[in-house]
Symmetry: C2
DNA sequence: CGCGTTGTATGATCGGTGTCATAGAGCCGG
DNA sequence: CCGGCTCTATGACACCGATCATACAACGCG
């Protein structure tokens, strides 16, 4: 299967699906490698086949904020490719990943031809706008502990995998810190105390949510 | 002129434009009054005719974050009306305003019929997603002073009006605080020192950017 | 296997902002 | 025109979380 099997592409007619299949390049990225960089002209529309891609912006001092976590089957760099401008953020493989790459010109052409494709992209974009607004609220109005609890629950839903009856996340404290706008140290301090409280089980590169209810309580701020 | 004169509606055929004109209600809101509330089912697509509308989310303790500032000619509550769900945030008139209101059902129908309308909405949404991401970066990585400088410049561009050779904003410190995720006191402290430094001229409900260059420097963080 | 690298852990300290309190200035309506 | 309200202003203080420093555990690789 290729990119043409994704949501929004399925309604395309056979010749166009073949054209996509022919134009799509499959590309492999090692963990940590850069897919594209902020400011670079957008020449492609991307989708994740396997792995995980982070969309992020960084400050001059090296600190960065992860704006989106792109899971398999999702598009990224899509709207900007359609509008033929520069990427407003960077994309980095959060783990070893395989991505599809479709030339922007072809994507634009298909969008003109198929309203359903445009509709599918609109749907993804609106979903992301809503989540961006929600995160804006979170980072502006909540304190770190609350934001972290919320982020863990969101991540668990999106990219968590169950094993042994508990939800597990493969993520580093640094990545979590970059998602909620804090530092590694603070993130580690909080996860450590949660670990002692039995709310989570923490290990290298991984983190098990043994007590999601407690996290929900913290996220709702019910204790303060 | 009605809502049918807005960008994206102009390509509609005459009978549909008439249908819109007939279905559109013009509604007046006093400063501070609520247009719709977060959680309420979205039954309409809105647009600002005159005035200014804030899209915001609030916390249980009363603090709030202004997500969007909607200027005349812009849509709001659009995507959510198309998707027939509940508003994810509230809308409040930031000043005395006149808004257009189009039944969601009609908007959905028109969107199915006119890809250009859907395209226009997609364009607005992508613009807002970009600005939301930029603000996320700002609030997560920058300190209050920097964020405030940036916000003033952004606002000046969007809703500033020139008088006497300087850009003026009609906005309260509370509103500014709610936009950048801080408190009134902190905002007042910063604007006060800027006032003393001659960077801005501060008065009740208004604020003149006498030295935008200085603000740009602060926004870029060139001094730290 | 040893060694460098990456990720986790924790303490000490500092500072940017939130919080609380008070006051005055501009504006509106009775 | 006076009382109440909103908005601006400013000080004192507390505290969350950043910063800096150090240590160690886990992993990868030559």
């Amino acid at each position: 299967m290729g990119i043409e099997g994704l949501r929004g592409f399925r309604t395309l007619r056979a010749p166009d699906r073949d054209a996509i299949a022919a134009a799509t390049r499959e590309q492999r990225f090692a963990k940590g490698s850069v897919v594209f960089t902020e400011g670079q002209p957008a020449d492609s529309l991307w989708a994740v086949k396997e792995g995980l891609v982070h969309i992020l912006k960084s400050a001059s001092d090296g600190r960065e904020i992860v704006l989106e976590v792109i899971a398999p089957g999702e598009l990224f760099g899509a709207v900007v490719a359609l509008e033929n401008r520069a990427y407003p953020a960077s994309a980095v493989a959060a783990e070893a990943s395989v991505v599809w790459r479709l030339p922007a010109e072809l994507a634009r052409e298909l969008c003109r031809k198929y309203p359903t494709l445009r509709a599918a992209i609109l749907e993804q974009v609106t979903g992301r706008l809503r989540s961006a607004h929600e995160r804006l609220r979170s980072v502006a109005l909540e304190r770190v502990e609350q934001r972290l609890a919320r982020m863990l629950l969101t991540l668990a839903e999106k990219v968590g995998h169950e094993r042994g009856g508990v939800l597990r996340l493969s993520v580093t404290r640094q990545e979590l810190a970059d998602m909620i706008g804090t530092t590694v140290e603070t993130t580690i301090r909080i996860t450590s105390t949660w670990q002692r409280a039995g709310i989570i089980q923490s290990s290298r590169q991984e983190l098990a949510l043994t007590n999601p209810e407690a996290l929900k309580n913290i996220a709702e701020g019910s204790d303060r």
